[in-house]
Symmetry: C2
Subunit: 721 residues, 2 copies
């Protein structure tokens, strides 16, 4: 299945001819392993990006070792050094069955670029390089330089289509070399001479310094001693007398034709040795040993050459490979069907993100995002959409917490569920969300945890305490084990405990809440009283947290507030006595996707900010002004008004009497632990008394009495007895 090319252009008969005839060489054949394409794909996405410079690449071949099959130039995973991989350098040095052949890859950004490459020029440049290596004597020292290849490609990583074209540049002699028909080596070298040739070749092929050198000399001394020598010893063996035969690792299996490497060997002989006749043995093997029945021997006549030492007189080159249809043209391969769909999905999921780094956001820290663990409290309208946003940004660890089951009214608004999840009473929400997220992207580590969040004002009976403690501990552990906590539940009071836990553990907390046509997205400030014991062992923010907390807090200026900082009453049970429209989150459908998207963008912004959790709140600037951070501004709160198509950035500082994030509350939680939580749940006024809100409200009340003596002062104080 080889193709032939005469030196003189169009092919003539390739049949056996008893007289001298133009030599016809079997072309190289390329074979690209899937591993190579995968390596190229990641190199392109991660390192090269938009760069189009040529990339060194190493092919591998071996002498033909099968009577019916030529050996190919193979491109393997290790053919490309992607800089990040732990390529064993020995891989590129090759071995007897992987003789390296060095190449250069031109990978273009576009298919149009691929087609418009000047292929003739590329080929000529490489041929010139070979010519220079011959003239300079470097090829005589290292015969591997005579075998080179070129590859052009375009990798369409969206469809996993790879277009490529190989060239094996050969210097074209001005007048083709001729030869009588070849003889089988076993007929040329018989008896002792044959045994000597076998032994010399097998030795050359088995010792490390020579095995990967595909061109060599066989010297048969006058005394009949046969030795294999490097090309550089031509002059000395010539002086010794006897026979000198040039040998090369021949990939070709054909009985009457040499393989492509002979072309550059003949050019070398003509230019460097200035010979006009040369006996050549096409070295071939069988079962790992030289096989003289396969090797063929040519007596080649090389015509007179022009003076190539003149640089203007550069030889012509040929060598672009034909495609599978034996036509001049590129090949293509589509890997999408043969790839493991799960791996393919992972690669594809990263595609858009890696592309983002090429041009628009080079500072995007994908490894950071892939390592960040996100805890989503609530797997409803917001939770589903936040999870989708996170995986789109490359976050790979997501845990859902929800106590409910998927109900029939959920799928139209909660974007991770379908009707199937609602049947037979509904699947547990957290688990269904995790399961369905994996159906979208199997590379995500998603988990669903069904626990209820203890809530102030929802008092607990004695027999409920064991379950409550279990939930509480699990929630605490979850907060500690994650890096970002999203508060996405549907009541105000269910956000209280997570706020306390995040403040205690000094975690990034992102809060999204919906009204009917307005939304609030905010990030909580850092812990008011950081403690070493609370730094989670798994936190990717350890480094930053270990800095002096005071120093960190200073960065933020006034500490940023939490969801409860604006409130002067503690959270209570808001679910009691609600009619259906108050139980269901009745919001304009557009609200949740917007708020969820902003919550995710805010989280990504914090993770990328050099000060992380301590990043100060940015104020708004004109949209035409550039932002300090590549990802843009990092606000504290975003408030949106859908009926006005308006969105505002708001800064709210921490309130020292806050019922959730104040130092008083965090310290009391650290001191009393579970007992503190139980008091909050069961004693309506406990939090307000503790934080001093009660006192403050009483003071406010007496002031209002002073100001307006006719008003019913007690009405304005919901805590009065």
């Amino acid at each position: 299945m080889s193709s032939f090319k005469g030196n003189d252009g169009p092919e003539t008969s390739s049949g056996r001819d008893e007289g001298e005839a133009t030599l016809k060489f079997a072309t190289w054949q390329s074979a690209v392993d899937e591993g190579f394409w995968h390596r190229l794909a990641s190199l392109k996405l991660d390192t090269l990006q938009l760069a189009e410079h040529p990339i060194p690449v190493t092919g591998f071949f071996a002498p033909c070792s099968h009577p019916q099959v030529s050996s190919h130039v193979q491109l393997l995973l290790e053919s490309l050094d992607n800089g990040q991989s732990r390529n064993n350098p020995a891989d590129l040095l090759g071995n007897r069955n992987r003789v390296p052949i060095s190449g250069m890859l031109y990978n273009t950004n576009t298919l149009e670029g691929f087609y418009s490459l000047d292929k003739q020029l590329l080929l000529k440049n490489t041929a010139q390089q070979i010519w220079h290596d011959i003239q300079s004597g470097r090829a005589a020292e290292d015969s591997r330089l005579l075998n080179r290849f070129l590859m052009i490609s375009h990798a369409d990583l969206k469809s996993w289509n790879f277009f490529y074209w190989f060239a094996f540049p050969a210097i074209k002699l001005p007048i083709p070399a001729t030869s009588a028909p070849p003889k089988i080596a076993s007929e040329v070298f018989d008896g002792n001479e044959g045994a000597g040739v076998l032994s010399a070749c097998n030795h050359w092929r088995s010792v490390t310094p020579t095995m990967t050198h595909p061109f060599f000399l066989l010297h048969i001394s006058v005394s009949g001693l046969v030795q294999a020598k490097p090309l550089s010893e031509w002059e000395s063996v010539k002086l010794e007398g006897g026979k000198v035969i040039a040998a090369f690792y021949d990939p070709c299996h054909l009985p009457n034709n040499p393989g492509w490497p002979l072309r550059n060997l003949l050019a070398f002989a003509a230019i460097y040795w200035h010979v006009h006749t040369l006996q050549v043995i096409c070295y071939r093997e069988r079962r790992g040993q030289a096989d003289l029945k396969q090797c063929i021997v040519f007596d080649v006549i090389i015509p007179q050459l022009p003076d190539w030492s003149d640089m203007s007189n550069v030889p012509e080159a040929i060598g672009w490979e034909l495609n599978a249809f034996r036509k001049v043209g590129p090949r293509s391969v589509n890997l999408s069907s043969s790839m493991d769909p799960y791996k393919l999905a992972s690669a594809a999921a990263d595609l858009n993100l890696k592309l983002m780094r090429w041009r628009l956001l080079p500072s995007l820290d994908l490894p950071l995002l892939a390592a960040s663990k996100c805890l989503l409290l609530g797997a409803g309208t917001l939770g589903c959409q936040v999870a989708r946003g996170l995986i789109a940004w490359g976050v790979r660890h997501i845990t859902f917490v929800d106590y409910g089951r998927v109900s029939m009214s959920n799928p139209v608004r909660q974007s991770l569920y379908t009707l199937d999840d609602c049947l037979n009473g509904g699947k547990p929400k957290a688990e269904a969300a995790a399961e369905n997220l994996k159906k979208i992207f199997p590379g995500v580590h998603a988990t669903g945890v069904k626990i209820g969040i203890p809530m102030p004002g929802h008092s607990v009976g004695k027999n409920e305490i064991p379950k409550l403690l279990e939930d509480l501990n699990q929630l605490k552990d979850l907060v500690h084990d994650h890096d970002v906590v999203f508060l996405l539940t549907d009541t105000r009071e269910s956000r209280w405990l997570p706020t306390v836990l995040c403040a205690d553990a000094n975690k990034i907390a992102i809060n999204a809440a919906l009204g009917f046509d307005s939304y609030l997205v905010l990030r909580h400030g850092a812990c008011p009283c950081p403690s070493n014991k609370t730094v989670g062992a798994n936190s990717i923010r350890d480094e930053k947290e270990s800095k002096e907390p005071d120093q960190n807090l200073k960065k933020q200026g006034l500490r940023l507030g939490c969801y409860f900082c604006n409130d002067v009453v503690a959270p209570v049970d808001s679910t009691a006595n609600r009619s259906l429209d108050q139980q269901c989150t009745v919001t304009r459908p557009g609200l949740a996707p917007i708020a969820a998207a902003l919550a995710v963008e805010l989280a990504i912004g914090i993770l990328h900010h050099p000060d992380g959790l301590y990043a100060p709140a940015d104020q708004d600037i004109p949209v035409t002004a550039t932002t300090d951070q590549p990802l843009g501004l990092l606000p504290h709160q975003i408030r949106g008004f859908l009926a006005h198509f308006a969105q505002l950035m708001v800064v709210g500082h921490a309130f020292n009497k806050c019922t959730a994030c104040s130092a008083t509350v965090v310290q009391e939680y650290r001191l009393q632990g579970v007992d503190f939580i139980l008091k909050v749940l069961n004693e309506p006024n406990y939090l307000e008394d503790l934080t001093g809100l009660t006192e403050m409200l009483l003071a406010t009340q007496s002031i209002s009495l002073d100001w307006d003596e006719n008003s019913e002062g007690t009405d304005s104080n919901p805590q009065s007895p």
Copy 2:
């Protein structure tokens, strides 16, 4: 399985007692058909909403017709008149097997409300009504008034849990009535008398005027003639002499006890007839005929009553039904598992929307949205999210147009696909989107159409023309058949033809486009030159479109611009020569959900605006200001900047040289049809020449030459030769 209650409170023995004993009555039993709950659910959602006023409801029963089974009071679908339904009035009048019993339903908004209803008071009020009907003589005229019931309920339509409790109010005599053990009627009335009783009863039960009156008299004249008479004839038959027996349709099957209706009959006899003894027959049937072997006869002794004409001396009432555990308490039923999941899903999908109408957005026109047909051009990141937003708003007709297949990189950003859709080369996108939308909400009419959108600058060869014509016609028909068209494709030029088609057909066109971190959502203006022929036959906007177009256009002031109105060059092939990051829509993941949500909200706003497509563009107002329209402002364009968390409302007026929506283009399209499109596709300068842009640009160029003689004037003009 009946329960007994003596008039004197706690039960004593119910065994046969040969002497006079307190009468023990078998209580009514309720049975609620699922249809009733469905009717109640829709009544609540659509009509009652938050209202808690009592609702008239009609139960149905029949005399007992089985020796072992008492008959129930049944509540059926038609028991509730929801105002919208075509209830056959005959349904409520009942028939011999559906004797109506009128009731009052108190349905509460919350479960707490349900439990806190004053059940004793409700019961007493109903008993008083019966008492008044007796005293006034109305019950004598219409004996149906003696049977009444009460029902309290709470419908949790999120989980399809219904809580309910029936009461069958009975006036409690101050001293219980007594009787000797009953006799079987066939023993009391033998021979001719028995035949007469049978015949009289069967007649009463078979003729329309009397069959649904559950109380009557049997008069056996001195001559032995038996006649059934209404209660009002008591005095006259008494005067005639002979025997008078009071009869009632007895739901009870027990051989020794009368059913519950006898209670109010005895009260009636005591109050209205002032009798102290009464012979009563418990009328029961078998196979649709009176059966004297089942009927039992009591000789009741009614103790002396106080003077009830004094209003302050109101009788006590009893009658709350026991629950299935024979305890005092409500019952509940959960229908979610027994309901057809598809119907349940439809009901649930509407839940949030109907709840929105209760309080926040009473003007929300759900039938309009359900009838509006939306065409989504592009089923990618934006298309998927727009479709989700639309079904959440109650839109029920969605058609996707996309030419592509679902690829591995899609699911993480395109919210209607999962990995399964990518396998084996990927499903056609439009079809997969439609299919998956139905999995979310089976009630949606979703269709996927795989056609390519012809694009300017993407020239077509001769052999491609038949396919192009087919695509073009299909697209044109689709635009005509839909009410709102969303332009959500990923290139500028693919929006051109849809813009022209929407302008021609005068359809609402919503355009959403993404940059890397900015978005644009806009609605196109109306057609510059409306034509009657272009009004789609299926358009729900026919009425508005049929108004004088000029008048409509005036409303908008200056006509609003389209996506191309800002451009001074015609769209060209932007896909040629793009590197991977330019081929894929590389955007911040938060962008598409936000832009898609805004596109949907904008569409919903237009559909609700009294001027629809012709609504003028609102300018921004403070977020605290109320908006004219209940849904809020209706901007022309919304431009968002994610890095600045900013969003602006922009108004852009139509450009009279616009290459897509100008009168010149629309008229030329109407004139030339397909030929026009072909010219645009194949001739790069055609559109610019046609609209006068070329001329304008040349003029601009000469001006700029005047101003800056050193600059290379031709560079600023991409159309110069």
